[in-house]
């Protein structure tokens, strides 16, 4: 078949698929990606007790740190019953690693240490703008800015009341599909341009009401759940960061942080360390409950970043710079080796050429 005909056929296929699909997507979410509402994944411990219920897909090797700091790893998935069985990895002794000490561990980028006594900047955004709370918003999803934006605004206001500069992006990343993370990447990059101290992607989960409901300070509210992506180079720092935040929250408001889910995925956390995805309650909780929970969490964030546990690190900036240079050198050398091997057509030829070069130099 000649190429012109191939092109025409493909263009027609493209129009047939893109055209109606755009209309279909525009009229309803016919291919919604989360588990259907009412269906949840249940994570079980080795004894069969429920650790977590979530609308999020769970994969093998995903890990979960419970509210009492037991770390479990998924070893078996039952797709039919939507259950995930785990094994206990360890009981974690949470350590509060100060924000400035975490910054010192960041290898490739040079980051200015926070100045003593001043509060910095926190960035917020929503990848899944449509997420809403059924008891308050009447639906679990609003095409546009859903109930989650109200929760985000409360979080932003609570941080701002404490003297923190907040960059809150209301940018839309619709349609509500998995491409939203690709679209929200642009938002993250825009927010990172002003060098925030941390960045949060605020979501809500899909789970039974009881999964997130908690009574704190004589009020019913929702817990906050952390999600850390396992598939990015910042996993190590983000793990310590999430655990440190949880440790502070456990001291200030025991039970406020539901747990930490280490899930498969990037979640744009490769763009910056100190990047966390928050689940503020579930669709079955009321929005005011989620707002109360996130408002308390703002206090935790303030305490961690700008409170007594944040140490001055100006005198250690030189060490940070040295580590950054080493990191760049390390990256350069690694990349050079990879490209050299590709160039010469394999490890064997690369080694032969390198040794031949060395022999020639020695003879000279």
């Amino acid at each position: 078949m000649n190429l012109v005909r191939q092109i025409v056929i493909l263009l027609v296929c493209g129009l047939l698929l893109f055209g109606p699909s755009t209309v279909a997507f525009a009229t309803e979410d016919i291919w919604g990606g989360f588990l259907p509402m009412g269906e949840y994944y249940t994570m079980l411990d080795p004894e069969g007790n429920v650790l977590m219920e979530t609308g999020r897909e769970i994969y093998l090797q995903d890990q979960y740190l419970t509210s009492d700091n037991s770390l479990y790893e998924v070893v078996e998935i039952d797709e039919e019953n939507k259950t995930a069985r785990t094994k206990l990895v360890e009981k974690v002794q949470l350590e509060i690693i100060s924000i400035n000490r975490l910054r010192q561990e960041l290898g490739l980028t040079v980051i200015e240490a926070a100045k003593n006594g001043s509060k910095g900047r926190i960035a917020l955004y929503h990848t899944h703008n449509a997420e809403s709370y059924v008891p308050t918003d009447g639906t679990d999803s609003i095409y546009g800015r859903g109930g989650i934006h109200h929760v985000g605004q409360v979080f932003a206001d609570s941080l701002a009341e404490r003297g923190i500069t907040v960059d809150y992006s209301n940018a839309l990343h619709l349609p509500h599909d998995r491409g939203a993370y690709r679209r929200s990447r642009e938002t993250v990059l825009e927010l990172l341009a002003s060098h925030p101290d941390a960045i949060f992607d605020i979501h809500r989960d899909a789970a039974p009401q009881s999964a997130y409901a908690i009574e704190l300070q004589d009020e019913w509210m929702t817990q906050v759940h952390f999600v850390v992506g396992r598939q990015n180079q910042n996993l190590g720092v983000n793990r310590k960061y999430a655990q440190s935040l949880k440790a502070i929250a456990d001291e200030m408001y025991p039970g406020l942080v539901k747990g930490i889910f280490y899930g498969r995925g990037n979640y744009n956390q490769d763009l910056s360390p100190l990047s966390l995805l928050l689940e503020a309650g579930a669709h079955t909780n009321s929005r005011p409950a989620a707002e109360r929970g996130i408002s308390l969490f703002a206090e935790v964030v303030d305490h961690y970043f700008y409170g007594p546990t944040a140490e001055a690190a100006g005198h250690e900036q030189g060490a940070v710079a040295s580590r950054s240079i080493l990191g760049v050198l390390g990256f350069t050398i690694t990349l050079s080796v990879v490209i050299y091997v590709i160039n010469t057509g394999g490890f064997g030829p690369a080694w032969e050429r390198a040794t031949a070069l060395l022999r020639r130099r020695r003879l000279k």
């Binding site: 493909l10 919604g32 040079v110 990349l335």
Partner: protein
């Protein structure tokens, strides 16, 4: 010390490596000279720092976004008609597959992360439809761009009048990552095929 974006640092490192003559094989397969490749990378670094300009209450354009698009146009203009058509087909197919996976796969990015899927599909398709690294680069970028255009169309169709920023994100935007990843995938597949073919010739 001022903080330098990691992406700019890494791109600068890649530029230096090309200047030193590394990556020659990949450039040869893309039919690019060292000079052209270095110029493209330098322009992308510069583009990272360009501002976003508002054209209307609903449309803004990040000037830096024009550079990778300009690179695609350059690659298309400096190749044969057959290659142009092939690149167009691969781009369309890549966009179709990205759209389908966006809609059919789970909402969370666990399986086949949406950041990398475009580049992988483009690299695979370009490899099996002409083994073109240039086509892979074009499809990686145009495929993702096309899906974003469909998303914008859907928003407007549903009456969501939102300010759209085109071309944002700079060097580490999903478009640019897709294009570079597509070339890497195509290169790896190409090398493996060559190895198999050479192995067959030697034993044959």
């Amino acid at each position: 010390m001022p903080a330098l974006p990691l992406s700019v640092t890494m791109l600068a490192v890649v530029t230096v490596l090309l200047f030193l003559g590394l990556g020659q094989r990949i450039l040869d397969n893309m039919r690019l000279t060292d000079r052209t490749a270095i110029l493209i990378l330098l322009l992308m670094i510069v583009g990272h720092f360009l501002p976003t300009v508002s054209l209307s209450p609903y449309l803004a354009i990040n000037l830096g976004g024009f550079i990778p698009i300009g690179v695609v146009v350059y690659l298309l203009m400096t190749t044969s008609r057959v290659e142009q058509r092939r690149a167009g087909i691969v781009s369309l197919l890549t966009a179709l597959i990205i759209l389908l996976t966006d809609k059919f796969l789970p909402l969370q990015p666990g399986l086949l992360d949406p950041l990398y899927s475009g580049g992988i599909f483009a690299g695979l398709l370009a490899s099996f439809m002409g083994r073109s690294r240039r086509g892979a680069f074009i499809a990686g970028m145009v495929g993702v761009l096309a899906v974003d255009v469909v998303a914008i169309a859907e928003l407007w169709f549903r009456g969501v009048k939102e300010r759209i920023t085109v071309g944002g994100g700079g060097i580490f935007s999903s478009m640019v990552i897709s294009s570079f990843l597509a070339v890497v995938v195509a290169e790896v597949i190409g090398e493996v095929r060559e190895r198999i073919k050479l192995g067959g010739d030697e034993s044959g």
